[in-house]
Subunit: 481 residues, 2 copies
């Protein structure tokens, strides 16, 4: 075990309630980045985070990111950046950590069993609340690491740079340019030796992992419009071409129930599975029951673990998210919607090229719509896009993290990829030119982006230890690439 | 012209502003029957209406209709029933009139150019506001007729029975049983000689019509569910069967862009067009430009007036209204919805049998879903159903109304059918055993059920004259069937 870790771990245990209280305060701030009217709460959450760091003596700044693209009345929430210790020690490595302080939308009426913005801890230590696991728990993890080092009077092992954003759940608007600018020589994030992001999840519920790959995401909308306004289906049904009829036919042409993407050419650039890659899936701590538990059903596509993990990590997928502009409330409304917008996204993988994916999507959607011979008007466009990412899990950043996992969890971590996209990962890799590690805190059952999001108390407290231990190991790990 | 009409007409013109003010007060009450939290406003609107009638000396009652089915905490709004003059004159005929005082949902943010619950009159006399034309204008029309008879000191020509409900836009819940019970001997609506309903629209904007047929409506939902909760598409996309994928495929199998219903057998019972019927369409005052104006676009299915009118009146249609449970807001949310409910309805016509339509729908939807071989669960059910209706336009109730139209509008009315359904029409016909007439006030461009609903000042004021004149003619028309 690295020196000083024992007293650090003890101090984290001693302060567990303080750290949970900090998470409770953070969850209470509904920092929903997708809802304009919550923007003040997002900013308030950023300021709360900055305040916690300031109290611990970090050097922090709230950096404005400008107006929100397409919503010029709306200021983007600031990037909260910080350095700890406040003065750089040139004898130590510089580690950049990233997290986000905004959250997904949540309403009690969506089906939450507790108030989404009130941390509710049950008798099994499950801490329910929007943002508990995604990503307020991990973000506060870094704050708690600093506090425990101070309280335990342990020398901080690295120069810690922090970058916490407030728009992750809405496409990280404004962040890329900021990171690229601040990674230039002489700027805030210059001289980074490695990056660590804690914003994903274990594969299951028992075994930690280090993540070295992510799928990309290209999010599209298909707008079909016809009449000048919504129509009464009694008066106009049977006389007007209905946009909703066209839209569902186009949406039905995109993917089948087994997840096969029906857009011609879309699989052409997907990297083939090598025998070496195939063999790696066998040892991963994941079972079909893990899938079924996190699904809450047995509606998986594949019967086996290997193909299921490949489906999540290394094959593209297409999901239909919904329809804007149509009748979406309970009950019965006899409307013919005048303008409907179907939303779908494609998770992309090596070696797909996002621009080519766009072209294939547009060509397919155009062709299908054309085949309908509709008088309505169709427009398909890309709402946002983030590229896939793969790193080397043999890098010293990863081997250091693996040692930290063994110290805290007494087990070698799985080396995994993930199905979700964290576009900023790629940005950090490209802007710093250094390795990026994904070091998750929460588990597969945390229900990020869903109702009843939670973080287990154990994952939070041991996760704080893990983040701290990682900093100690990464400070000393031999620099092999 | 029938005696006394001239002074009645003059009085209506003299009191036009009073009548518009009455409509303004009614529109200001957001009596949305589909929204539970507006129930108090619906009741308030009913009481406003009752108060107006009471002040004119009518005998009125607010009859409770019990709890709302499926929402046992919620009392249905009362039926406001009335008699004028308060004491029955056995020497006069008894005419029952019906209307509804509830309205469709409306939010400014839906695209209204004015506040939906504030009557806004523009310089062309278009009176914008939710409920202006559907159906507060016509309902208040009867009130205004009474007031003008009093002010002009004209003998009231009939025993007027009134039945105004507050749940029309939500399936007229509770009303059928009430009407059937009150039409029995000795009850409130016993001894009705004919019924008149003003709750539909002219075909165009220039020529009034009498309506002798309506399509029925069978409203269905298709629920597809799989996972226990909404999922993150990054984590689960490509590993889980997605309910939305199944739903759009089932929805796409129901109808094509030209309005052809793809459910096998659905057209089998549709009455064939006879040469006699076909010839009647030629004279109807309706042009394709009328359609395009009310559509606000040129996205009609058929190029000619005859087939367009047939598509509206005498052929069934199927409209896809929307999806409940999926992502429906602006922006981009990467959710896999766990449970999605597609809504659609079929407008039915003679001689379709609603129960057979249900069976055909269920069989088709089951078959298509089965063909998907999905592990998700699908349920299709009928939300509500109302049968089509056709009456004889040669009945004295219609010939009297035709004379009233000629008096007021100086033109013979078109005899039309309508595409919408007013299920209560059939109930009144069956419960009274007497003829029912539909006598519209508003025009085709009124945008009932849509944004920017309006009633033209001219249609309102001349419509009041028409309702009054109708009562005079129907009081004296020879009783040929």
């Amino acid at each position: 075990m690295a020196p000083n870790l024992k007293s650090f771990f003890q101090n984290v245990d001693d302060n567990a309630e303080t750290f949970i209280e900090r998470l409770r305060k953070a969850v209470a701030i509904p920092s929903i980045s997708a809802e304009d009217e919550r923007r003040a709460d997002v900013v308030r959450m950023g300021m709360f985070l900055k305040g916690e760091l300031d109290r611990l003596g970090a050097s922090t700044e709230a950096r404005p990111l400008g107006k929100q693209p397409g919503k010029e009345h709306l200021e983007l929430p600031p990037a909260i950046i910080g350095r700890y210790p406040a003065k750089k020690d040139d004898s130590k490595r510089t580690i950049l950590v990233y997290g986000h302080y905004d959250v997904q939308p949540a309403n009690k009426s969506d089906g939450w069993e507790t108030e989404p913005f009130k941390l509710s801890v049950d008798d099994k230590g499950r801490m329910y609340g929007r943002g508990s696991t995604d990503d307020k728990g991990p973000v506060l993890g870094w704050v708690n690491v600093i506090e425990s080092h101070q309280k335990a009077e342990i020398d901080f092992p690295v120069n810690l740079l922090m970058c916490f954003e407030g728009m992750e759940e809405y496409g990280s608007e404004g962040l890329d340019d900021f990171i690229i600018a601040e990674c230039k020589p002489g700027k805030y994030f210059a001289d980074v030796d490695a990056t660590c992001i804690s914003d994903n999840y274990w594969l299951g519920t028992e075994k930690p992992c280090l993540t070295y790959g992510l799928r990309g995401c290209s999010y599209y909308s298909i707008q079909v419009s016809g009449p000048g306004q919504d129509l009464h289906s009694g008066v106009f049904g049977g006389t007007a071409q209905e946009p909703m009829t066209d839209l569902v036919r186009v949406m039905a042409s995109l993917v089948d129930g087994d997840g096969n993407i029906l857009i011609p050419g879309i699989m052409d650039d997907v990297a083939k599975v090598t025998p070496d890659e195939e063999s790696r899936y066998k040892d991963i701590a994941f079972t079909m029951d893990n899938l079924y538990e996190s699904l809450g059903s047995k509606t998986g596509i594949f019967p086996d673990k290997e193909r299921t993990l490949m489906g999540r990590w290394r094959y593209p997928s297409l999901s239909l998210h919904g329809v804007e502009g149509a009748f979406s409330a309970p009950g019965a409304k006899t409307v013919i919607p005048a303008k409907v917008i179907g939303k779908f996204s494609i998770r992309t993988v090596p070696d797909m090229k996002p621009e080519k994916v766009d072209e294939l999507v547009y060509a397919h959607v155009d062709k299908v719509f054309e085949s309908l011979k509709s008088k309505n008007t169709m427009k398909c466009h890309l709402q946002h896009s983030g590229k896939w990412w793969v790193a080397s899990p043999d890098h010293w950043n990863f081997t250091a993290a693996a040692k930290a996992v063994e110290d805290v969890w007494k087990v070698k971590p799985d080396l995994t990829r993930e199905g979700g996209s964290i576009p900023v990962t790629l940005t950090f890799e490209q802007a710093t030119g250094k390795n990026v590690l994904l070091l998750p805190m929460g588990s597969s059952t945390d229900a990020a982006h869903s109702v009843n999001e939670k973080l287990d108390r154990k994952n939070y407290i041991e996760g704080i230890k893990l983040l701290g231990a990682y900093l100690h190991y990464v400070a000393e790990e031999p620099m092999k690439e």
